[in-house]
Symmetry: C2
Subunit: 445 residues, 2 copies
């Protein structure tokens, strides 16, 4: 009898222990962390330009990277479909008049197309420097290491063409062997330094944004050799960049007839996103949305088929947001708002340009007032372009985009007023002249 | 020996059972849902004005309501401290010149102070209608039911004073007996109807915002009797309200010397919040942030000590956001941005007003162009005021606030330009004249 009691008690203990173990296991209930330790099959040489060789060790990452060749889907305000921005919004033809962007300015396609597209654009001519290959090829880290960026940029575009054989690839962001994320663009390395920042102690999550800054930052050219330079020495806010480029008296071109020295902004995605945006402050990285973790069987990897999150919102937004449909509606509201603000700012800029041109044509115009008008135009146009040339139609930082566009509108209107004052001619105060220009310049597609 | 074995085994069972029970209890760990069914002690008469009688049945709600008498804490851009807006930002004295708001315009205090404060303000004079009591007393639902809103508004302020004895209270939002949330303001009832909306089928969560619209909406006065009217017939967006008030040729006052017919916006908190704001779209109600659920012992109730969420962020924001410190930092960024945009818009408006006044003073000014300038001024000022007069320094809907301020800036600058065109005088294009006005008008505190 006592034997049975013992057996029953041991049985109860066993059952309780199993239940407890099960419950504890359930409590442990963390997302599976299986991070496969990859046993390298092939040894990849430092700065190896050929991504397919890295792909032997990382077949998922590589095979998703080469999918970027096929992206051809537009979103409402972006995507990778190579639409002509100039045909979509002919105001841009006026705003970039006198500069190659008025001739050819398309939505960029996926990373795998960088070489095809940079070689096809009408913006590249016989006098274009090699600088324009900077963000187009995984051959660059090797070439920069070999010859230095200054010597590279001093060459002509066509002179380095034979050495440039691979589009954007592994070597642009990864260190061979360790696979850690690295800044490979010397101009961006210098830019971080100029801010007093060293990217090396950044966390991996910080690097999942910082490596995008290898290319997705604004830049200008230093000197005759057109050395790629990122203007962050005073900070990365639009006002700090303007202040810095002003201090150098830098301009990309002089606006025809108006005489305004214009500086071009170029896709300042990293600057805009990191300017205290909601997502940035919440610790989200560029890769979280644009390279979400996906699964293939037991493997979990960060997709290298980099696209707009709007093309796969469940995978991108759905990692954090439970109601993806509502997120998409919210994105539409934000982007529609910023799009309209951008167009209205363009109208104000075109009114300013028209007035400055008219004032400049009058011999009696006050040159000091006219120059004040040009400075206002210069600043307004850079502010507008800071949002216009950034990807995401302002979504990377909606409040900052709307803040900047309000300031740009104000300065553009003030530029127009200065021109009218310079010419002492109130007929220069016409508003909405874009609509009255006839015919609207035909963009060269 | 076997006895000991049995004892030990029983001991182990006991320990395991206790551990298992603890773990299960922990798993159960849901927020307690005890919603006490209140057994009414006292019967409250329909439209009862005296909140203390309702308080017999709802002591927690009532005792928190009367705390609003003591709120005297400012936040960076709001709170309940009765600061003088005119002293904080003397631009407002210029913008409201010719209207009582230029004489006395303070931050509102808590609901319990409504009667003290409306009777003290210099905006109320011998010619003020009873309309100005509309949002100040729980006596109103009963009085409106008795005499109708039109007859109420036709009386003078001082004539109804003897009938007005209670500040904002239970009867402004609740139906006695059922305690359901109801629209009690006939002007707001009519406004919903004018939109084709019936609030009666609204969910309780929708009503937890809609009852705030009993007062926190913009309004204007219809006819000689100053009947309170909410201008939603074309919709609740700022452009729709402008279009509607324009169609009536309504104006609150004519700006002295400029001649602009101005319409005043008044705390359009409900309109701004429901214009597709992030929080509204996420299903958050006004009460979720301003009247968060709190506990007193076993009781859980919605605090009726209505304050800025920034004064108790853990209780308000912390219901949804885990990192409240980060939320507060984000609120600061948003409000700082909107504050600066608001000030810059005010500068543009003051430049416009200065120019219109100068043009109006010149006998040769083109009257048609001058009127165009006035219309632009009217629209710009209403847009600005729509954000300025709303509580929250734009936080109720940041993107919408920045969108509206960008448009307001643009229209204000265009107004200035029209004035210069009307006078054919480019000297009217001065910018930043607020800073050059000397002396800045001294606000009457």
């Amino acid at each position: 009898m006592k034997k049975y009691t013992t057996l029953i008690l041991v049985g109860i203990i066993f059952v309780l222990a199993v239940v407890l173990a099960g419950v504890l296991l359930f409590l442990k209930n963390q997302p599976p962390q299986e991070r496969a330790v990859v046993q390298p099959i092939a040894t990849v040489q430092p700065l190896e330009a050929d991504s397919s060789l890295w792909g032997v060790n990382y077949p998922n990452e590589y095979s998703s990277l080469i999918q970027t060749a096929n992206n051809n889907t537009p979103t409402t305000y972006g995507g990778s479909a190579q639409n002509s921005y100039l045909l979509e919004d002919p105001r841009l033809v006026l705003l970039f008049m006198g500069y190659p962007f008025s001739k050819d300015y398309n939505q960029p396609r996926g990373h795998e197309n960088t070489l095809i597209d940079v070689r096809a654009t009408k913006r590249v001519t016989d006098t274009t420097h090699a600088t324009c290959y900077s963000c187009k090829s995984s051959d660059n880290p090797g070439l920069w290491a070999q010859m230095g960026m200054e010597a590279y940029d001093a060459k002509m575009f066509s002179d380095v063409t034979p050495d440039i054989n691979n589009p954007i690839g592994c070597a642009n962001c990864h260190e061979a062997g360790s696979m850690r994320l690295v800044i490979t663009n010397p101009a961006v390395e210098a830019a971080f330094q100029s801010e007093g920042l060293d990217w090396r102690p950044f966390t991996r999550q910080q690097m999942r944004s910082a490596v995008c800054a290898n290319c997705h930052v604004t830049y200008y050219f230093t000197g005759e050799n057109k050395v790629l330079t990122v203007p962050w020495a005073n900070g990365t806010r639009v006002e700090e960049i303007i202040q810095y480029e002003d201090s150098l008296n830098f301009s990309d071109w002089t606006y025809p007839e108006a005489g305004t020295p214009i500086m071009k902004a170029r896709h300042p995605d990293y600057e805009l996103f990191t300017a205290d945006s909601t997502h940035y402050r919440a610790g989200v990285s560029c890769a979280d949305c644009h390279m979400p973790y996906v699964r293939d069987g037991a493997m979990k990897y960060s997709s290298h088929d980099i696209i707009s999150p709007l093309l796969d919102p469940q995978q991108s937004c759905g990692q954090c947001h439970t109601n993806v449909d509502d997120v998409l509606a919210r994105v539409s509201i934000i982007q529609d708002t910023i799009y309209q603000a951008k167009i209205d700012t363009e109208d104000a800029l075109i009114d300013a340009i028209t007035a400055i041109k008219a004032a400049a044509a009058k011999p009696d115009s006050d040159p000091a007032l006219l120059d004040e008008g040009r400075t206002l135009h210069r600043h307004a146009q850079f502010m507008w372009d800071f949002i216009s040339s950034a990807n995401s139609m302002g979504f990377h930082n909606p409040d900052e985009a709307l803040r900047i566009l309000r300031n740009a509108t104000d300065l553009a209107r003030q530029a127009q007023m200065k021109a009218a004052q310079a010419a002492d001619d109130s007929s220069l105060l016409a508003v909405g002249v874009y609509y009255t220009i006839n015919p609207v310049p035909t963009p060269v597609p």
